[in-house]
Every structure is written in C-alpha cells, then in structure tokens.
C-alpha cells in the first residue's frame, strides 16, 4: 500500500493536474450559476454571431459561413481569456496565492490542471455557437468536416487558454489584469481575422495577428468548413499548436518570475 507522502512522481503530478485542476476550478469559479452562465456565455455570443453575419451581408464582404466560423471559434476565447486569467489572478484576489505558492506542487501540472476545465468550457461555448448557427443561419458544413472542425476548435481553445494563462500570470504583478484581459479579448477581434480576411488588413496588423492565438485556427476552420481536408489545414493547425506551446511556456516563465519577485518584495498578496 502506498502512503500519501510516498505518492510522488508521475502519479502525484497527475493528481495535481486532474484533481487539483477540478477543485481549483470549483473554488475559483464558485460564483458561476446558470443565471450568470447562460446570459454571458450562451445568449450573448449568439447575438454576436448574428450581428456580424448580418453586417457581413450588408457590406457584401464574404458569405455567411466566413462570419459563422470566425465568430463561433472566437466566442470560445471568452472562456480561454477570461477564465484563463481568473484561474491565476483570482488566487490573489481571494488571498489564497501565498498558500498555493507555498505548496510544493509541480507548477506545469498546476497550470495544465487549471486549463483543462477552461478548455472544456470553451469547447461547449463554441459547439453551441456552431449549433445555433446551423439552426438560425442554415450553416451546414459536410458531415465529414465535423470531426476535423472539432479538432481545430480544440486546438484554438487550447491556444487561447494558454494566452489567457499568460495574461493571468501578469495578474501576479499588475493590479488591473482584468482590464488587460478585456483589451486582449477585444484586440483579438481586430487582429485575428474573426470578421476580416487578411487581405483587408494592413501588413503590420496581419503580422501581429499571426502571433496571436486563434488566427491560424480560424483560417484552418474556414478551410475545413468549406470542404477542405484535415491534411490540407495541417500546416495552420501545426502553427496554432506552436503558438499554444509558446504561450504556455511564456505563462510558466512569467509565473515563476513574478513568484520569485513577489516573495522577494513581499508583494504577493498586495491588492
């Protein structure tokens, strides 16, 4: 029989990741109720999709599918960015950051565990967006496209959650992290090609967009929804995964940096 102190290595890491991730999600997001979740995460995004589809029709920019895919993928970013930020920054707000940092828990496991429920939530929101678009806007991708589309959405949500965790790490140091999250979320509208083809943007904006999460994921999703194969979009998916990895590493490094700095300056719990 293995005693708790002896439970080390991979098993402990997995436990921190899965059980710790779930418990921390329940603790940090205990304020979420259906009365909050449904208006914010489900109803509002539907109108975002409708708004941009009709705006696209009015200005005669692209077909409905372009805007449905762009927005249905992007709305998952609400979970990725805000929940990613809160998964770290709320520890400071709830005055539990010191206890967390005093624990010997493996930091990457801690991060990934916190990201998993956020990713699951992002997938639900995006699936809801596609589902409602199928009902209201007759968005009908081929049945064979659905699985590849789901994979692309998953990669995009992972990437966006890593971006959210990076911003959340800034919450270890800066007070106005929710303002930063707000800006970051809305900047994605402008730079990530949610409602605009790259050809409509200045070159500098295109390059900024390429360094942000979702840009390549949205392009891949559009290709697949238009009947393209998963292999054809593999390059874009690979880049999106690379961006996700880069932001995750950045989040870990920033977290470690601000942890050390916070301990040195005794500013961890300073609100």
């Amino acid at each position: 029989m293995t005693s708790a102190p002896a439970m080390t290595g991979a098993r402990a890491t997995l436990r921190v990741c899965l059980v710790g991730g779930l418990i921390s999600y329940r603790a940090l997001f205990n304020w979420i109720s259906p009365a909050l979740y449904i208006p914010t995460m489900l109803l509002g995004p539907v109108f975002q999709i409708l708004f941009f589809v009709y705006l696209g029709r009015f200005v005669q920019l692209r077909d409905d599918s372009f805007f449905v895919v762009g927005n249905a993928v992007q709305i998952s970013g609400m979970s990725g960015v805000y929940a990613g930020v809160m998964a770290i920054a709320n520890e400071r707000q709830f005055q539990t950051l010191s206890a967390l940092l005093a624990s010997p828990a493996n930091r990457p496991a801690l991060f990934i565990g916190r990201a998993l429920p956020v990713i699951a939530n992002g997938l639900i929101v995006s699936a809801w967006g596609f589902g409602v678009s199928a009902l209201l806007l007759h968005f009908r991708p081929a049945a064979s496209s659905l699985a590849p589309l789901a994979l692309v959405v998953l990669v995009s949500v992972v990437s966006c959650t890593a971006w959210g965790l990076t911003l959340g790490s800034l919450g270890m140091r800066f007070r106005d992290v929710f303002m930063i999250a707000n800006l970051a979320y809305y900047l994605m509208w402008v730079f990530c090609g949610v409602n605009l083809p790259e050809s409509a943007l200045p070159t500098a904006m295109v390059w900024i967009g390429r360094a942000l999460p979702m840009t390549h994921g949205i392009q891949a999703a559009r290709e697949i929804a238009a009947g393209g194969s998963l292999g054809g979009a593999a390059g874009l998916i690979g880049v999106e995964l690379g961006i996700a990895a880069a932001y995750l590493v950045a989040a870990l490094l920033l977290f470690r940096l601000f942890e050390l700095e916070g301990k040195r300056r005794a500013t961890l719990e300073q609100a």
Binding site: S33, A35, L36, P39, T40, L43, G44, F47, Q48, L50, F51, Y54, L55, G56, R57, F58, V59, Q60, L61, D176, F178, M179, N182, L183, Y186, L187, W189, V190, N195, L196, P197, S199, A200, L201
Partner: protein, 257 residues
C-alpha cells in the same frame, strides 16, 4: 434651482467624476468602441457595398454610447450592492429614483467620449470625411440620443433591482441591442421579426436622427420619437423601481449578492 434639478445636477457631476476615475470604465467605454469601429471601418472598406465610411463611423460612435450606458446601468445597482451602500441609498429622503436617474444619464454622457473618439479615430486613420449636412440638427441630435439611451439605461437598471446578476444581463444585452437597433446594419436588412423590436428602442431612433442630421434627411421626426421613448422609459422606470424596490424589501433580497 428646484430640488429635483439640483439632485440631478449634483448626482450627474458626482457620477461622471467617479466613473471617469475608473480606468476600467474609461477603457471599456472609450477604447473598446474604437476597436469595434476599427473592425467596422475595415469591413465597410473591404466590402463591395458603395457608401460612406461616415455611416459606419456614426454607428460605431453610438455603439460606444450604448456600451457605456449598458455597463454603467448594469453596474449601478451591482456596485452599490457590493459596496454595501444600496440600502442606504434606497432609504435616503430623496428617494432612490433621484439617485439612479443622474447615474444613468452620467453613464450615457460618458459615452460621448466614445462618439468623439470614434469620429476622430475615423478621420485620422481612415480619412473618414466629417461633412455634416445639418450642423444645428446634428448638435441637437447628440444630447437627444444620449437622453434616450440614458432613460433606457434607467429602465434597465430599475428592473435589475430584483436580479442579482445584473452585470451578466448587461453583458448579454450588448450585442442584441446593437443588432436590433440598426446601428451598423439598417433595420431593412435585418429579419422581419427584428424590426418591431427595434422600433421600441431609443438607440434605433437616436441613430436615425444622428444619421439624418449628418448625411442628409429630416432628423426632427426621429428626434421626436427618441424624446417620446425617453419619456416612456422614464415613466416605466419610475413605476418599476417603486414596484421592484417594494418587492425586494418585502422579500429581504435587496442587499443579496
């Protein structure tokens, strides 16, 4: 100055100063509409439809007023609840209506920042011409629109007394109102079921008045409708506030967060 006018003036000044001291609020009400307007400018410029960018610029500006009103009105009761001042405000001798009214007008007034910022942004970065067909009517149409949106904010805020998650509701209402009030897409281009809803909203008529004053047309009838709707919202808001405050006090739910 009458007591009511004094309360409105002091309350308005207090809330404008208070809200503009919040970086979060200023960024939300000024920077975000600029981002949205940027998307709109690029979409209008890249699209095949002929037309003026000033159309998009004005729409995006009024969107900013709406965002500010919604955020401020949704927050008015939630913030007071969180700070523990709601009960004190409700039992003040002036009555909560006179506390809430200037607050919602103040949030809509701050939205003027975003209108100006959007127009300047469009002029500087996209070369949007700022040629106004009826300057006097344009100057009148702006405060009329702000009044209409402010009163809509009051009506919403009054119903939020009973709703603990007012902020969530205000988050949800941003795009529906942008969608149904024709700020960027005319009502005629929207589904038929949307149009009657849009007719009941002051942003629809305020937008029509601003556009008619700027681009040509008769701005006075839509301005009249905006004022009429503002009066209706004010009356309903006062009634709802009295009813919902009584219910909240009976159920002892006023301060629940």
């Amino acid at each position: 100055m009458s007591r009511a006018a004094r309360l409105i003036a002091i309350g308005w000044r207090h809330h404008v100063r208070n809200l503009t001291a919040s970086r979060f609020f200023v960024v939300t009400s000024v920077f975000l509409p600029i981002l949205l307007s940027t998307v709109a400018f690029f979409m209008f410029r890249a699209g095949a439809r002929e037309g003026t960018l000033l159309y998009a610029s004005l729409g995006a500006g009024v969107m900013g007023i709406w965002s500010s009103t919604l955020f401020g009105s949704g927050g008015a009761i939630s913030w007071a609840r969180r700070e523990g001042t709601l009960e004190v405000l409700v039992v003040s001798p002036a009555g909560y209506f006179w506390v809430l009214l200037p607050q919602t007008i103040a949030t809509a007034s701050i939205g003027l920042y975003s209108l100006v910022a959007t127009l300047v942004w469009g002029r500087l970065l996209f070369g949007v011409p700022f040629a106004i067909a009826h300057p006097l009517a344009f100057v009148v149409s702006i405060p009329v629109t702000v009044l209409g949106l402010g009163m809509l904010g009051l009506l919403m805020a009054s119903t939020f007394v009973l709703y603990r998650h007012a902020n969530a509701l205000s988050n949800m209402l941003e795009f529906p109102v942008l969608f149904v009030s024709g700020l960027l897409v005319p009502l005629s281009a929207l589904p038929v079921w949307v149009r009657p809803v849009g007719w009941l909203l002051a942003p629809t008529w305020g937008m029509r008045a601003v556009r008619a004053a700027a681009l040509g047309g008769n701005p006075w009838p839509p301005m009249g409708v905006t004022v009429g709707l503002a009066g209706a919202y004010l009356t309903l808001g006062a009634l709802f506030l009295r009813l919902f405050l009584r219910l909240a006090r009976e159920r002892a739910t006023l301060a629940l967060t």
